[in-house]
Amino acid sequence: MFSKVLFGRYVPTNSFIHRLDPRAKLVLSFYFIVIIFFANSWLAYAFLGLFTLVVILSTKVKLGFFWDGIKPLIWIILFTVILQMLFSNGGHIYWHWGIFSITQFGLINGGYIFCRFLLIICMSTVLTLTTPPLLIADAVESLMKPLIKIKVPVYEIALMLSIALRFVPTLLDETQKIMNAQRARGVDFSTGSIWKRIKSVIPILIPLFISAFNRADELATAMEARGYRGGEGRSKFRILQWHGKDTAACLVMVVVTIVLVGVRLYS
């Protein structure tokens, strides 16, 4: 159950998208999520869908990996779409029962929302499939740097993130051990009454918290003993570089925006 968490979902294929600067990818995928909310016609969604498909194909990552990213979310999306269809009014009424009704507007809105979330998830999956977590973390730190001026402790946030990334495998290991230890004592996490199953979480969580505290104390003592002082002025092992292709990617997104605005104005 935990093996997937270890490595993120990065799939190395060395495509054009892989080689883009992680900052460009992070900003552009965020930007895409924002402009998607401007789409309000089938034409706009078809255009954005086509664009997303081109991006997905150009990553050279097998489509199965994208499906793995979308699959766990598809139920939440379908759930909101069904809600949308059952509860909205307007247009021709196809079916009616109590407070529920399926109407023309409900169906159209449901379709729009389905497309919107599907595209958002596809694009954010492109980011996580083509960029290793450590590089995205570097990009986050680099993009947050201007916030130092308003006293946001950017270096410390980056330090926390890299410590967390470093210790995820350790704590997962610990969790697995604790669960096995409980199983060896006869705890069964999947059978028994509801209350019994819920109670079985307690003997996992308490040792987990305690061991995390102990580890934090040990690490803190080690770092304090070595006189560690924050990230300011420290040199970096991985240095991010902005290339021409990153600017090109931004220009492509500008074109996408212009087309989207055009479609909105003329429909």
């Binding site: 979310l73 819920i198 803190a220």
Partner: protein, 177 residues
Amino acid sequence: MAKTRIRGIIYAAQLAILLAISAQIIIPLPLIPFTAQTLAVGILATISDIRLSTWAIGGYLLLGLVGLPVFAGGTAGLGVLFGPSGGYLWAFFVQAWLISLVNKKADKYLIVGNLVGAFSQLVIGAIWLKFTSQLGWQAALTAGITPFLIPAVIKAVLAALIGQLLLRRLREPLQLR
């Protein structure tokens, strides 16, 4: 316990991972799976001060943002944070703040703070659901709150109990200076 700032930051990192792990601990129940995630947020907010819980929750969301599948069901990325259910994740901040605030006023009754926090988390998640999915208020509140109410109450009670046990061991709440 956290005497220096660096110690607090390390605690925040460890607590962020605990949130990530607890989101993957799922007890299969009929209808809605019971995850230990909101329970862990409750415990976290009960045992640490407002600043440390903010850092830890921020760290957890960042872990998901950089692509580790740490959100419920092994999901990750911007798409989850800004998807229909993203509000329940952002609302962890408010949940933790309210728990800390209420507990400061009435630390004999940790359950009260946890109930207030858990309920507000559901409300904010449902409001987010309403706006991102363009639902009506009735639909969003019915679907976004009611199914989770009973589990939320159970988790709030458990969080208060476990938090109490941990606090006794820690002697004083964890802090970030």
